[in-house]
Symmetry: C2
Subunit: 247 residues, 2 copies
Amino acid sequence: MIRPVPSRRDAIADDLRHQISTGHFKAGERLPSEAQLATRYTVSTPTLRSALALLQGEGLVEKIHGNGNFVRRPLRRITYFGGLAEPTTSTAFPAQLRVTTRTTTIEAHSHLPALLNVPPRSPLTEVLHIAHEGKTPHSLARIYVPGDLTQTDPPPARPSPEQIAVRVADPRPPLAEVQERLSARLPTQEEAAALRITTSLAVLSLTRVTTDATGRVVEAALLVLPGDRADALFTTRLNTEERTPKA
Amino acid sequence: MIRPVPSRRDAIADDLRHQISTGHFKAGERLPSEAQLATRYTVSTPTLRSALALLQGEGLVEKIHGNGNFVRRPLRRITYFGGLAEPTTSTAFPAQLRVTTRTTTIEAHSHLPALLNVPPRSPLTEVLHIAHEGKTPHSLARIYVPGDLTQTDPPPARPSPEQIAVRVADPRPPLAEVQERLSARLPTQEEAAALRITTSLAVLSLTRVTTDATGRVVEAALLVLPGDRADALFTTRLNTEERTPKA
DNA sequence: GAGTGGTCTAGACCACGAG
DNA sequence: TCGTGGTCTAGACCACTCA
């Protein structure tokens, strides 16, 4: 295959990674200062910092400005269950989840009209969720509901604690379809700040659009999950009556 | 929210981004050399390079060592259709896809035994796919099939051109379940080299496990898709006969 | 060989956090 | 205030691409 030239940065990152995995540096511990590490490895500070940046991108190290570099505690994995696979979401979202919610009314703009299939500038209810597990941020969600739907429902439109894996309880026109689109990217600065991650740690970005039986979009949810601890799981069981392809 | 301090890096990146989006720098064009850009923005080369690194991570710019920085041509989006939603995959994978395949026989190791539910060191057929669309790499797939299954099937186990969205044609024990797990991360150096992307461009990593009616794992596929042009789409339609939760 | 990006240095100065 | 990380400089030297 390809033989990447071993750079000092990679060598240092490998060494630190190894020391972390063998418990030489323990979880939660503060690493020696960058100046000390630079001396130890006989490199300049920028070089050492770029090695640390690799570990940050892997979620192994958290930098705290003015304080130090810390070995991250192993984080509980987040699993987003897609589709309708899991009626019980409680296993995935232990009760310790603390969710901050902010609801506002906005006008549909940029990509939202197309997403929700509503005219531009039509009223939408925006629900912003930030979930924390203990002290560490967990996930970020923006949920949009057409304005006229929220007038019949109570304001926040959806129960909150299970904010991500929300299932609609008792919709008036029955739901017909859930479409989930996932992509991988680096977070925006705002997202990185809210999730307390680096902008160099990838996030799983998920857009979920729920449509009711009349073909109307009932809800659009934009989720951002930190890539070092989250994944999304989709389970498809084939019906016993075989689907004929090209129906 | 948060007021990120405007750094020179960000300012330069914003400016270049703007010049690219307004067509001042056109697709495929080579940017001025880093030295020239550094002079123009009156910054040092490391600073300028860190600005370019941001654009690389967004897939806007491709660096070619010894040649220059190039504005990337807008790439055709890749959509991976999850589940069994799309019987016709041809729309997603135009015929221009050229797939390189390498088939080897290996012994199950590390995470593979658990994934395929086979004993460690049992024989597996590994199929490595690299898909190209024109000259640009497109996707990377490693497919594992238990060794005793490949003896009845013809060697590559699966038709190749639609390598990613392969559907099994005529399985002896009928298939029962497809489980797809997605995560976002940065690519390994090998993956980045194969896909010709930076290690700072996030990838969508997908693990698909197919099980037949006897509960046996028939195939495990590990897919890596570049985050700047790929997403995965899952569509779940509710059966007309309503599912009762907690079945 | 000329020109490009890749890596690295040895500092300087600023911004933040804790005592 | 002190020690930490954050940003940046001005240049050196190497590796690669192309003619």
